[in-house]
């Protein structure tokens, strides 16, 4: 369950996503305040973070969230670069640093990369997918931009808890897969609930004239999910790990195609 928002020091905030707390330090009270608001529900004080980033604030500049990010490794250190930020991270020491302007998008991208790299160690991955919890189980709705992730999230009835409308967090634990809520929001601009649930099913989204669910074979499922999986690193070992993780996932979890009319009736099929 999420902790109540608590500030322990004026210059730091600990953001816990997928059960992994990461400390962000920055000597800028305004930025700390912004981070608290951005990651509300995911800020914690209950666990000592294994990883920490020192953020160095740079003068205002151009922010290009859609620009390609470069992720590469040099010995033990990872380097993340985009026009609006530069980050370095040593997973062994747990220490990293980020140089960026005061904006939530740059650190958001850094966190997505870090979580992708950490998840790859344990068979998990980040997926372009909305996810929601119903009856204690998580359902993922995957698709490219425009496929209907935001629409299906918006149509969810009251008994459904939204975990994310944009980036789903898939964790493998003891051979089972769990979906975690994330603060990585899409068009809905609403952070997910900081909850977890076993993944019941993944739906590949398409909008059409009638609601229907169709089976997919494992090759189709793997192909589709790999296209929607976040691959940041140019590192061959990392790409291989994520590839194998997705292939393992489709062997274990049902993946079907959901064609839907954009109205609430579609949720009658999802239980």
């Amino acid at each position: 369950m999420p902790d109540t928002l608590t500030v322990t020091e004026a210059s730091q905030v600990v953001v816990e996503i997928g059960g992994l707390p990461i400390r962000l330090r920055v000597d800028d009270a305004g930025f700390i305040d912004l981070l608290h608001k951005r990651y509300e529900g995911f800020v914690t004080t209950s666990r000592e973070p294994q990883f920490e980033f020192q953020i160095e604030v740079t003068p205002p500049g151009l922010i290009e969230p859609d620009e390609d990010v470069r992720v590469h490794r040099n010995s033990e250190n990872w380097f993340f670069d985009r026009g609006d930020f530069h980050a370095e991270w040593n997973p062994t020491s747990g220490q990293g640093k980020v140089r960026q302007t005061v904006n939530p998008y740059s650190i958001d991208c850094v966190l997505r990369i870090v979580h992708t790299l950490l998840l790859a160690r344990t068979g998990g991955f980040l997926l372009h997918a909305a996810s929601a919890m119903r009856n204690g189980r998580a359902f993922l709705f995957s698709g490219v931009s425009g496929a209907g992730k935001t629409t299906i999230s918006r149509l969810a009835p009251p008994d459904v808890t939204l975990l994310t409308d944009e980036i789903s967090y898939v964790v493998k634990e003891s051979g089972e897969y769990f979906g975690f809520g994330t603060p990585f929001a899409g068009e809905l601009a609403r952070v997910g609930e900081n909850l977890r649930a076993p993944i019941a099913e993944v739906f590949l989204l398409a909008q059409g004239p009638a609601n229907k669910i169709e089976p997919l074979d494992t090759a189709e499922a793997a192909h589709a999910l790999l296209r929607n999986t976040l691959f940041f690193a140019e590192d061959p070992g990392m790409v291989n790990s994520v590839f194998q993780s997705v292939c393992d996932f489709v062997r274990k979890v049902s993946v079907r195609r959901l064609t839907f009319v954009p109205n609430a009736e579609v949720w009658e099929l999802i239980r």
Partner: protein
């Protein structure tokens, strides 16, 4: 006499047989490829030591209803395409095994 040709999977790939199709991802640029059943047989047999014509005669022609000449032509086309994408090595000499770039091959 036609020269022997040898084929080997490039080391910068991740691959997995899923539902009879070979899924291949280039670990250089994350490009995804899918091979059908026949092409998957060639991929799996591409060990750098077995000549392509032997792969075709021993594994394709015995398993699939296809004329040997046609099968060989199709195999030649396939390996050239895969080589063009940088995921297969084609040589007129045996190809020595190289260290695979995969960290967690399964």
């Amino acid at each position: 006499m036609t020269e022997k040709r040898y084929v080997a999977r490039d080391t910068h790939v991740a691959s997995r047989l899923m539902g009879g199709e070979m899924m291949i991802m280039s670990t250089r640029d994350s490009t995804l490829f899918t091979l059908n059943g026949v092409a998957s047989v060639i991929w799996e047999a591409a060990d750098g030591k077995t000549p392509l014509d032997e792969i075709v005669s021993e594994q394709i022609c015995k398993e699939y209803d296809v004329a040997p000449e046609q099968a060989m032509m199709d195999a030649e086309t396939l390996v050239e395409q895969l080589a063009g994408h940088g995921i297969m090595i084609v040589s007129d000499q045996q190809i020595a095994p190289r260290e695979n770039s995969e960290v967690n091959p399964k």
